[in-house]
Symmetry: D2
Subunit: 378 residues, 4 copies
């Protein structure tokens, strides 16, 4: 049809993230100059009705309630996993075993050992992998990284990172799967992994952490309105001091009970020559302070995303028009496809998901004893 | 395939807006529960290469360099016009003559008479029309309208509106089609029509204007770097006082030479009980002040877009994640499709485009003599 | 006591502004290196009780209910007038006749003719005068002026100015002296004169205006709760287009009924190479955009007041600590005293008050017929 | 003169804080309805020239280079200490021994033991004391406290506090007294004590801390430009997790090397029903989010300081005009004078300074071993 090679996608899961991934692929195919013709082959859900509805709405050709059928579908090159965390490993290993490239939502898996197993399998099979750390796929974050790498803010000295939302603020909200310790944790594992990924991306490897975890709502109703209570075993808040390989130091906090916050994925990075401040609440802006500016007119610059900040221009040729959350998923999908075409590894592949999970795990371990825990290399 | 009726789209034009419209339809089909199966049938461009490239990238089935072939294509129900303003009328009238629904970028046409002709043709033919006033298709603007209509800020007293960008700030930028007076004007017609549409949408009909236009850069090189100059005849800035049917008064400014501004589509609406402040620079926020709040804790509320502000939830189930410019186009396309299905008229149909153009025209007329000009009803 | 010359102040009026002036002198004497020893000699009020209370609280030596006694007090060098506008002329002329320097609150007088008479008298007598355009006495405004004069934002092209508050938003608030047309007008004369002063200060002389005035609340109770109504004859809102001698064009609005606004003394100044944005709501900040900054990292700089912005350092040696409204009055008083010592004229002397009043008057005149009115020179 | 009792002040130290205290007393005497006639009796400095200059500028009657003469001056009721931290104890104890009330800059003294000695002496002598935690003396902080105590944001759950500036960012800046470990520490003791005071004020007693300290610039030139280096022994950054008596948990950071920050005294307080966000960078604003607001129109309210937030109205009768840093000192001085008149204790007396110092000390202690340290009661 276009002379380009076809690439087929099989999606597992049709919730918030399933829809976002499908949109990401669809938008990516239209805004980026891709090496492939995208083929949304099949979508799997636990219910056939759900799968069929997603097929119709999201533009897939086939629907199934048996995700394993995707593995053997010869049209499918990519398995895209957006199911609950507990299922990631089984699905990813099966996909890898069938030689499929794998795109998986974060966190990669609840434990470091499971992540390691997934990385080993993927690397042995030589498939390309991608993990959904979508907040990194922002032209403003690319700019931040470029500013840091170019030395414009000097040597990084200190860092603060936060990921806070308030979806668990209501103490009467019932116990649910997010609170199941088998999933690997609470606020830190669920949303804190995003800020760990951002700090690693911008400041480099984290070598050790000293942390505490807090359970703010010690028990919740088993169901909305029920008087039967179930103990909460996972963290509502986790705070950590962190040390970076570069010598920089910092802190982060994960909090899903920060009343009023909807998307406080914020960081402040202080260098010897300048600083960068970002909040996901205003994801099309980046603040930059440069010590080298004339002293009487220096101040934090509020930089608005525009075509001078790739890949913003793929979405819109004019500055200031803004991209949205689903566009981050399009950038993420595009990066994955480009890596498949080039035979390279995206910056947020399974190995990076594994590295993030090591920090998550070390943080939980540190929180048990409030002692520094080193993040190992392997 | 889905049991739903198919609807076919033929797109004319493949530039900034052609791509945005194609994306709008594509995203709309995936996030909204639509009455139709969308069929992107054919795309036309002045060059066949351009059309073919757009076909591949944007997901159309056919490509052509003869837009008239779309008129007789039995698969096409909608003609979508994203060409330069001067071509809108001819294309729209031809589409209407063939019984097609028409989606047209703003401004509808350079003159009021042309707009009137287009409205008459569309209404006589009974086709559904839509004009691309995309900034209105924002959940935060829907909220603003809801707050006003519910009386929460009382009777509207005064209004300020601005649409300022800086793409013409550079005096050495060459003369181009935007500066051709045949297109119907300069900054006001090009971008000021957006703020007129916003004020009409939120505050109601404008009954009279008193205006001035300014040419800031009186001549420009005929081509970049050329020493041959061509006189500029259209406005770089237009300012107007406005009166609304409701009794409210206000002002607006259109400015495409406001150095530093990328998307200052801003308004402030002051009522007897509160006020609303918006800037497109932060399109996922709305500011609201309520006189009824406790005096010691009242202040402008910064409301972040979330699922409680339809149709944000169609894009993302979680608050604070933000939508982008192309998502506004998806809402616009969806509203158009819903109107076709229901046999109703969208709020920004050709008649509304005509009404906006009457204000644009009256504003230019007023600027000639600096006298109040009434906007007629017909 | 200090070897410095003593300078004596006689204050007339003990309300909001009387207190602010007394504080201004007092703070100025302590933070600036002044040429005089300040002597707060006497304070006059319509009631002796009021005068006596002000004497005790504000640090004067004497109190009187007869302001004329200040004229003949040999200890008094400066007459400071903070009474209602209608009384300014009589008091100022009397003070000048006695050879006193005069510090007078704005507006200088309700009519241009009265202002002219005051200027002529002051200049003939050779006394130094000062008018209370306090918002100009801000280190951030000094910075704005410096940035403009140094050419850093290029040739000024367009300007927007606003002074909006909401103290008249409540339609049930009773008729009062602010609404008396004898005082020379409404929102424009009362608060709009501030934004005219700011635009003149930063962009230069205004040569013509085209304006409209709006009465939003056409009648008000004669007293709070009364059912007897009195017609309102002065403007709640005035809007104007303005032309500057430099060729720049712009607009301003005065509005005392902008629900939610407390101190929206805002301006945006667009030049060929950059722009400046200011709001009095955040008076210790100035925003600056420079076209010459690297395209990928340029953005509005939020500059915080610090010692690098004189005379901030007189109040605080450390940046970011912020000054307040009364400190603006101290800068204003200090500038006046410095001019007396040097035998020069402050930038906001009676002549400047006269020039501002000419713009106020021309604006009201234009609003009667909605025709351009030139501001004369004399 | 006024029938009120005279109160005499003797000031020691004439630097940044000496001037701010003198201004605070002077402004307080004019804006507040005080029980005393203020008498600025004498000022002491290490050099007679410095003292004499301060006498003239700041309005004192006498000057001396021997601070002990203030102790026996019968006109002096208050000894005001703004000297380097190391001198606080000796001066305060001497003042107390002479029955003087004592106003002392923070930190009270370098060690907890010294603070305890000072508290014991003051309480035994029955004199009134005040410590300069000026950021607490802000109408917006009074509002924050009122909102918390009234239960409007529910039970406090979590807290983040920061005090960051950048005056030590330049690694070539020479070693100086701030770096002398005898003064009791670095960034935490110097500026971090402010955020500890704010958190205690708003959230209540801190019971334990887990902390780390960082030295970012390990050695500095002994003088500007010198090649001889001296090791830095005090913290550039201190980070801590904190537990409050109320059950709330949180964190704070002190950082004097945060490039670009001038006055980031920020906190975020999350309750079960709302949250409060403050930055000293915009000290006339407080942000408030209330879960109880209508879901579609709730958002952080930006509250501007006005007369409805005492004691703002003492400085200005109109809202939005803003107060400055020196006005905070006036509120602090006024609170001290009111306490003397009433025979009560200000909220930030020596005992509170002692409590803050206990947290500072426990934080440093924790940082040595990275273990939780309890803050003792005594």
């Amino acid at each position: 049809m276009s002379g380009k090679r076809r690439i087929g996608v099989g999606l597992i899961g049709t919730g918030f993230m399933g829809k976002a991934h499908a949109l990401g692929f669809t938008i990516a195919a239209r805004v980026f100059d891709q090496p492939f013709d995208l083929d949304l082959v099949s979508v799997a859900d636990v219910s056939l009705d759900g799968a069929e509805k997603a097929r119709r709405n999201l533009g897939f050709r086939k629907a199934t309630d048996d995700w394993r059928t995707l593995l053997t579908d010869p049209d499918i090159d990519i398995i895209d996993i957006t199911t609950p965390n507990l299922l990631h490993k089984e699905m990813a290993l099966a996909a890898i075993a069938h030689g499929k490239h794998v795109y998986c939502e974060k966190p990669l898996a609840p434990t470091v050992a499971e992540c390691a197993e997934m990385v080993a399998a993927a690397e042995k099979a030589g498939v390309v992998t991608q993990v959904g750390f979508n907040y990194l796929k922002n032209p403003m974050i690319f700019l931040a990284k470029d500013l840091i790498e170019s030395g414009e803010i000097g040597e990084i000295r200190s860092v603060r990172g936060i990921h806070a939302e308030d979806f668990m603020m209501d103490a009467s909200a019932p116990w649910g799967w997010r609170l199941d310790p088998k999933s690997g944790g609470g606020a830190l594992a669920d949303i804190g992994s995003h800020i760990i990924a951002s700090l690693r991306h911008l400041v480099g490897p984290i070598t050790s952490v000293l942390a505490e975890t807090i359970i703010q709502v010690p028990e919740r109703p088993v169901a909305r309105g029920s008087s039967e209570m179930r103990a909460v075993e996972v963290d509502d808040i986790t705070r950590a001091f962190v040390r970076f390989e570069s010598g920089a130091t910092g802190s982060f906090e994960a909090n899903w009970s920060a009343t009023g916050r909807k998307m406080q994925h914020d960081f402040e990075i202080y260098g010897s020559k300048g600083s960068i401040v970002f909040t996901q609440e205003r994801m099309n802006e980046l603040k930059l302070w440069l010590a080298g500016d004339d002293i009487r007119s220096r101040g934090y610059r509020t930089i608005w995303a525009g075509p001078e900040h790739p890949p913003y221009g793929a979405f819109c040729v004019a500055p200031g028009h803004q991209i949205g959350f689903n566009d981050l998923k399009a950038i993420e999908a595009n990066e994955f496809l480009a890596a498949i075409a080039a035979g390279t590894r995206p910056g947020t592949d399974f190995r990076e998901g594994f590295e993030v999970q090591k920090v998550v795990s070390a943080t939980y371990q540190s929180a048990k004893t409030n002692e520094w825990v080193r993040i190992g290399n392997d």
